[in-house]
Amino acid sequence: MQTIFVDVTNLTKVDFLTGIQRVVGNLSLEMYKVIPEKLTFISFNEDISRFEVLDSDNFIKYIKGGEKERSRIFTGKSILPCDMKPGDIFFELDAVWNISLKSSVLLPALKHQGVKIVVYVYDILPINYPQFTHFNTRFHFINYIGSYLLYADAVIASAQSTLDSINELSDKLGLPRRTGFVSWLGSDFGGKKEADTAGIPKEVVEAAKGKYVLTVGTIEPRKNHAFLLDAFDAGLFDKDVKLIFAGKIGWNVDDLKKRIEEHPENGKRFFHFVGLDDAAIDYLYSNAFLVAFATYAEGFGLPIIESLQRGTPVLATDIPVLREVGKDYCEYFKLNDVKDFTDKLTNLMENPTEYDGLKEEIKSFKPFTWEETAAKVIDALSTLKITERKSKKDVRQMVILTARVDDIKRTIPYIEAYMPFIEKIVLCCPDKVADDMKAIETKRIKIDTLTDGEILKGRPLPEDHGTRNFFLRCLAMQSDKVDEVFIMSDDDYRPLKEIDKKVFLEDDSYVAYYCNDLNEWKGVVGGMTSYDYYIFRTREFVNENRYPGYQYSSHMPQIIEKDIYLEMINEHKGIEMTGLDEWSSYFNYAQAKYPDLIRSKPYIVMCWPGLRTDWKMFVKPTEYLFENHYDFLYKDGRIFDGLSEEYSENTDAENALKIEKVTQSVDEYFEWKNKVQKYCDKVKKDKLEIPSFIIYIEEGEIVLGAPETLELPVCSTVHLPITFKGNKEGLKMQLCIISDKGTVVSMPEIKLELNDIKIVNNRFDATLVCGQPGTKKGGYALIFRVDDGKNTIERQTSLKLV
């Protein structure tokens, strides 16, 4: 079931409720009445740098005022983005730009996990009216709004004007507009009450005798209280009308504060009240001649609603958002125009008929209730509900793209022996080998071919290998020879033991096996292949479309539903020409559209990578059900030297042995990786810096950085991240370990042409083999050397092999 994680961080921390916190509280309450089972309230705990799950019942009681103990709302259970499921919704309801949690970091992580993101935007005043916001707030808000414009799936605004300003900002930035909704805001107060002075401070009751103009809200530059004082000083105080401010003193109003305190009419015909409770505010609203709202800018304008609810006329600044909220129920004046304001107020004071007419019209004003606001928010969230789709129940076909008759001939016996549910194999092959393919002898599996000619139907074949494979697979999906559900494979993926279709079909979902994270992939060290480039292109594709980002080209058979593949091709016109990873594009697309349909799991194949030096492993296989076959591993003393590459009666025993060897090798690799990580953690704690290698080209000069000391496991294979900034053309890099006798012990001495390296987010990996068999633990020197053809710069690190 889809979970909606509602962030209410500030509401759980503040003692004084601002307008926004009131909105958060009321919306949470009303939403919980309708969809309690879907909501999980969370709050960011700065001490542990985690979101903490709240006890929903206690949280709701707390909002209602029934639960006084704030501590009761926290469960102590923390949650991270990686704990959320694809298809879940992260709903940012609170105004959290001022906390240590940075949206610029959080949102990409959520998106990568397949979580949908929705934000409630109250206004974007720090961007459009920065003069009215604190300097720090502006900075935090840039991060906040920028992230949401980049990553949100939907934006809910309190008013159409606010949504329009968000869209305008997106347009200026060249970003596509986020799907937008307008919810309006409800009102706290229950409507006009009879004048009842019980419990109201005497000075308030006294001030409210006679005719007065009221303005409610924190005294800050944006609310423009100074303008009202100017207007009254210009002559309104002489017209038998008082002025009342109700609101605390905010920031950046020292001069105004002094003016208020020292005003000659203060206490006579001008009053400023601070810290009034709801009953007193209600009293003031209900008995005012008029409410003045002279603000420069608003996200909504709640005082208008609160005033009209009580039948009190409003004279408001003529700005779009107030026109939207007040409609024809208010009178409007030009911003900052003392004469216009004075004329309009005087007119109402001197024309009782007009004034009474206005009051009569206001009676037909119907404010939004919080229930209605919550209904709009729930409607908006429901547009992101998970599209239900169940997997098909059966799979009997395997589709393999191959041009290599000999290789597929050797692989098919394994499929026959170990995948009993596969009844037919379709070989997508060049026309010239189709007859040889069809002639392959099998015991039970039927072989059919789908030739390039049948697939292409006259279209030319792309020349690049990486582009070609994806192109052919996309077109092959349109063939009737391909079943609605099939296992997609290559000619060198071999099962190792008997496999049930439950490996691919679980409950009503398809299981998809990932081997890496697309955002982490830096390519095969020292030798980029076309595979690497199509992974990089796939990363751009998923990030551009805000799909999840796991890497599913795990070099093992994977299950595909044809209709979904065709859906992807149809939705992204021309995609077949873009040379993507055929597995990662499909699974990330499918998971974004149908989160419940794809169940992602770590991969279950050996020999990917072929060698531990190839690339940094991100995921440890949980078991080995398949082999990505490399014939070089069966010779020259490599891991499977002496074992057979052909299926025979000894295959069961040999496969068991292979699994044992690979398990040992991979366990060893991850043990080294963990040791290195622990060491880095310790250094980080002690020295507040992780050990890092840096190459920085500054105005043609090479600047190198290396740690002073480093510890690595002896004879391990490690992948060192190298930070790089600058122009890498013509640069060569070397890493080698030298003993105190000057012998090179790293195996081999690593030399990299940086031109061949793909730098990803200023990083690439360099493989280092820390010794050969027989290398002893102890002290060595790690030489880090960069050469641009003219100069060679070197750094030496004191290395301890442990």
Binding site: P81, P130, Q131, L688, E689
Partner: protein, 164 residues
């Protein structure tokens, strides 16, 4: 951070700045501030990987670290306290990190990094983690105590201490 993200945040900074200027107010025109924003975004959430800040000017780095850690800018006296032109760039940045993280402000002693993304790189805190566990346990225990007992204890303590 990707180039696209960097560009978007920079553009929003410029838009906000231009709006300030259009109201006749001196904008956030100090170049350091935009650089600081970008530097801090690059370093988030883990500022200890200063290899990413290798080419960031010292003063920008200091402000970025303050912004990440304390959500405010360094004051002139704080900048002066940690200024040391005798140190190399890298050593200086290390010193800044040490100075900032050893600060008692906001009780972030023993807190090395904000890691709120995934379970990898879980760091072992020592006193900080222990204190946190104790605090959370006490919170849970406190939540179970009936309110009237707590009010009674509070009343008793107030009486004892001569409070109102």
């Amino acid at each position: 951070m990707t180039e696209k993200e960097r560009s978007i945040y920079s553009q929003i900074y410029d838009i906000s700045n231009d709006n300030l200027k259009s109201y006749g107010i001196e904008g956030m025109s100090n170049l350091t501030n935009k650089e600081t924003l970008v530097a801090s975004l690059d370093l988030e959430p883990d500022a200890t990987d200063i290899s990413l800040a290798y080419d960031v000017p010292r003063d920008v780095f200091v402000q970025a670290i303050f912004y990440i850690t304390f959500k405010r800018w360094a004051q002139p006296d704080e900048l002066e306290k940690i200024r040391d032109d005798s140190l190399s760039d890298r050593d200086y940045k290390r010193a800044v990190l040490r100075s900032v993280y050893e600060s008692t402000e906001r009780r972030i002693k023993n807190k090395v990094v904000y890691n709120y993304i995934d379970h990898t790189n879980e760091y072992t805190f020592t006193v900080g983690k222990f204190k946190r566990r104790v605090r959370m346990t006490l919170t849970k225990i406190k939540a179970k105590i009936p309110l009237k007992w707590k009010m009674a204890v509070k009343g008793f303590l107030n009486k004892l201490l001569g409070r109102g």
